[in-house]
């Protein structure tokens, strides 16, 4: 069993103080927030406090935060919900979006929309020239992620908003990977909607949010009891929401430490990688400090990940959601990486608890694993 966890872009361990905040709501404080009695009232207060915490960590106002069950739900809600109340024109999403943005966008094609993707360059940054050209056609919705889950590439949202705003398009950004790793400010970015998720920042699975400008007329995804001011029906998952709030507060406090520490680890890792024949993806782009995505020629990523696992290191061979399939990463293909090389990609993503020693051990283990795998290939040949 692996004992060093380098897969924090996939999911993170719950922080102990977050768990502590949640526990009362998993046991004694069991009210339904809609109920009128004191059980309901205390549940309601807990949710509103969490809403404040989330708003503070994202540069938003509390009344702009709509809780959902996950980042996936928030992304679906944003794309489907905003498009449903507009005239059918063009939806533009980047070619490196998470499938929970690109798939709902594609699904809107059945409802009369044109769904097109925006190219990225070899470093994984949005091709702004191409984007500007695509915006010449009537466009009402643009969704570009703030930071990519695989390469960590950070997009120039300010410029993207500038271009899209000229066309009066609504702009959504998936900030799931950005939160807690770089500064996220909803108001300053001036987007209409932004997705965030709890379990990527030391909070529990089961909570996410769409931060939403109130001028946006959005169609709810879930209808029923009218919770979240009618925007998201369903009994609130109080424990998870309370945990999400606590995790947001911590993430804000710990941001600068997280950024400097993980950046130091990554530099150390990548110096080591340069001594091998590793190819690092998106290295020339502005990246999340904790993420490194790389491959070795003629080495299969899945095999390497399994070998590393046996040596005690948990890393990813692509994004967790698509690691069920053996297709090469769509992000790398969009960057023009050769499919064979893309199949060899592995992702290391740190958090603030990882140490330099762990990285040093990892580099040794990696060298070992590469040697073994290449020997095996040589024998087979």
């Amino acid at each position: 069993m692996a004992n060093v966890y380098f897969d924090h872009n996939s999911t993170t361990a719950l922080k102990p103080t977050v768990l502590e905040a949640m526990l009362p709501y998993m046991t004694k404080q069991h009210g339904n927030p809609t109920s009128q009695h004191s059980y309901g009232r205390s549940a309601r207060e807990a949710i509103e406090q969490a809403r404040q915490q989330v708003a503070k960590a994202t540069g938003a106002q509390a009344n702009q935060v709509v809780f959902t069950a996950s980042g996936t739900e928030a992304n679906n809600f944003a794309v489907t919900g905003i498009a449903s109340n507009l005239n059918q024109t063009q939806i533009l999403t980047s070619s490196i979006e998470h499938p929970c943005v690109s798939n709902p966008a594609k699904a809107m094609q059945h409802r009369g929309w044109q769904s097109n993707s925006i190219k990225v360059d070899a470093n994984g940054s949005l091709d702004l020239m191409a984007f500007q050209k695509q915006l010449e056609a009537p466009t009402d919705l643009v969704s570009v992620m703030m930071a990519n889950n695989e390469t960590g590439a950070i997009q120039n949202i300010v410029r993207i908003v500038e271009l899209a705003s000229r066309k009066k398009a609504f702009i959504h950004t998936d900030a799931v990977q950005a939160l807690g790793k770089i500064n996220v400010n909803f108001t300053e970015m001036n987007v209409h909607a932004m997705t965030i998720s709890s379990h990527k920042i030391g909070g529990p699975l089961g909570a996410g949010a769409l931060v939403l400008n109130k001028r946006v007329d959005i169609q709810p995804l879930l209808l029923g009891g009218g919770q979240e001011k009618g925007l998201r029906s369903g009994t609130e998952n109080i424990a998870a929401i309370v945990g999400f709030g606590a995790a947001c507060e911590l993430a804000k406090q710990e941001l600068s430490n997280f950024a400097s520490h993980t950046l130091m680890l990554r530099q150390y890792l990548e110096v080591g990688l340069h001594r091998t024949d590793a190819i690092i993806f998106g290295q020339k782009s502005n990246r999340l400090p904790n993420t490194s995505f790389f491959a070795f020629k003629n080495i299969d990523g899945e095999t390497l990940v399994t070998a590393l696992d046996k040596l005690g290191f948990a890393v990813a061979s692509g994004s967790a959601c698509s690691s069920a399939s053996s297709e090469p990463s769509h992000v790398l293909l969009a960057m023009g990486v050769n499919p064979d090389l893309a199949r060899g990609a592995i992702r290391v993503s740190f958090n603030a608890d990882n140490t330099k020693q762990q990285v040093a051990d990892f580099l040794k283990a990696l060298k070992q694993a590469l040697q073994d795998l290449r020997q095996m290939t040589a024998v087979a040949a």
């Binding site: 998993m26 004191s38 209808l223 009891g225 369903g234 948990a314 967790a320 959601c321």
Partner: protein
């Protein structure tokens, strides 16, 4: 902290059973993998836990684990079933049948489908809350594609004859969805026998955590639904989104406990129910809402005539109950469920839903009876309407002078 009132609102939500919470904690601490991570044991452990829980949920309702799709709760299950099936089979027909007393999580998606070009019939139940099978048959149209009828009603606790309605649906080629959020652990559900195609479940009404539910999707004959949430292709493409293992584990454990203990528990709750009913019926002018035989013992919904609903709620702060279902109690509208039963606005307003459960004691029931008798007595002493009633005046025939 103020002393918490006695909890008699188990139909709004149940406390998490301590045994369930205990099972969940490890998945919040050491076993925190993403079940979709295939490349390391953190992911495998999480995936195994998710599959074990799926078996437990399936076992309670005698289904195949492959027929269980995880969701974030019964609201999502209802939305997914109704919009998902209606959209997938819209080529077959565009008429939907449901009941006026369904939960909003069924009614609102049906209303939304109406805006998208479907038509719908909202059947009125009998005054006892039960759906008449002949009324249901009469609602069927040549292009009826989907029907949705809940197993146990959240406000009045009546149990519908799902088998009979399901058989009619089968004969007419109608997809049949059942909202069973209030039913698990209270009535036996055998999907091996019941002619049901889609069924919604919730964890937090059965001593599991909030934020998780499931949708049963029949495999034989295979029922298809259009996904409402797109993304990583989780849950065989029917519902994308990273699964939350701790919550799923909690639901599995809650349903396992329900399966093992429901017979004994329901007998105990029946006794408490009878005790509460007997005690409250000693108060004059009380009306039980919903049939008393086809009903789960966990629910008792009573209208107290000649008291004003809001004052009553304020007067009985020592117990936590609902006046109408939790999901609509924020509004001052009288319960649409009680109105569908033909209750007047006054009686609907002065109704209380008592819902009892695993941790309710005989002492809780006795306290409740005493509290209600005392407070209702006081409120009626102040009520001119009660005085008139006592004097034998038929208030419905009184002509009120305009001021």
């Amino acid at each position: 902290m103020e002393r918490m009132p006695i909890y008699l609102d188990y139909s709004a939500t149940t406390p998490v059973d301590p045994r369930v919470a205990e099972k969940m904690i490890p998945y919040l601490t050491e076993s925190y993998g993403n079940p979709a991570s295939r490349s390391h044991p953190y992911g495998w452990t999480a995936e195994k836990a998710v599959e074990d829980a799926r078996k437990e949920v399936a076992k309670l309702v005698n289904a195949d684990p492959r027929e269980i799709v995880w969701t974030s709760g019964a609201t999502e299950s209802d939305n997914l079933a109704i919009k998902g099936a209606a959209n997938f089979y819209s080529g077959k027909g565009k008429h939907i049948i449901t009941v006026a007393t369904e939960h909003k999580a069924v009614i609102d998606p049906v209303r939304e489908l109406e805006r998208q070009g479907f038509t719908a019939t909202f059947i009125e139940p009998n005054d006892d809350g039960l759906v008449d099978i002949e009324t249901f048959k009469a609602a069927i149209q040549p292009d009826t594609v989907l029907a949705s009828v809940m197993l146990v009603n959240n406000e009045i606790g009546v149990v519908q004859d799902i088998e009979a309605i399901g058989n009619v649906c089968r004969e007419n080629g109608i997809i049949f969805h059942v909202d069973a959020a209030q039913a698990t652990g209270k009535v036996t559900i055998d999907l091996g026998k019941l002619p049901v195609d889609l069924m919604s479940f919730s964890a937090h009404k059965t001593y599991g955590p909030k934020g998780v539910g499931a949708l049963y999707v029949r495999r034989k004959p295979r029922i298809r639904i259009e996904a409402q949430m797109h993304g990583g292709g989780h849950e065989r493409g029917m519902r994308s989104g990273t699964l939350a293992p701790h919550q799923i584990v909690g639901m599995g454990e809650a349903f396992r406990i329900a399966r093992l203990e429901m017979a004994e528990e329901n007998a105990r709750i029946q006794t408490l129910h009878d005790r509460l009913l007997n005690g409250l019926q000693k108060i004059e002018e009380t009306y039980v809402n919903g049939d008393l035989t086809h009903r789960v013992p966990h629910n008792l919904n009573i209208s107290f005539n000649y008291v004003e609903g809001e004052s009553l709620i304020m007067a009985i702060k020592g117990i936590a109950v609902s006046s109408g279902s939790a999901c609509t109690s924020a509004s001052l509208e009288p319960s649409y469920v009680l109105r569908a039963l033909g209750r007047t606005d006054e009686l609907a307003h002065s109704s209380i839903r008592f819902s009892i459960g695993r941790f309710t004691t005989e002492a809780d029931v006795d306290y409740t009876i005493k509290l209600l008798a005392e407070k209702i007595g006081k409120l009626r002493e102040l009520s001119p309407l009660w005085e008139m009633f006592q004097d034998g005046i038929d208030i419905s025939k009184v002509e009120w002078a305009a001021h």
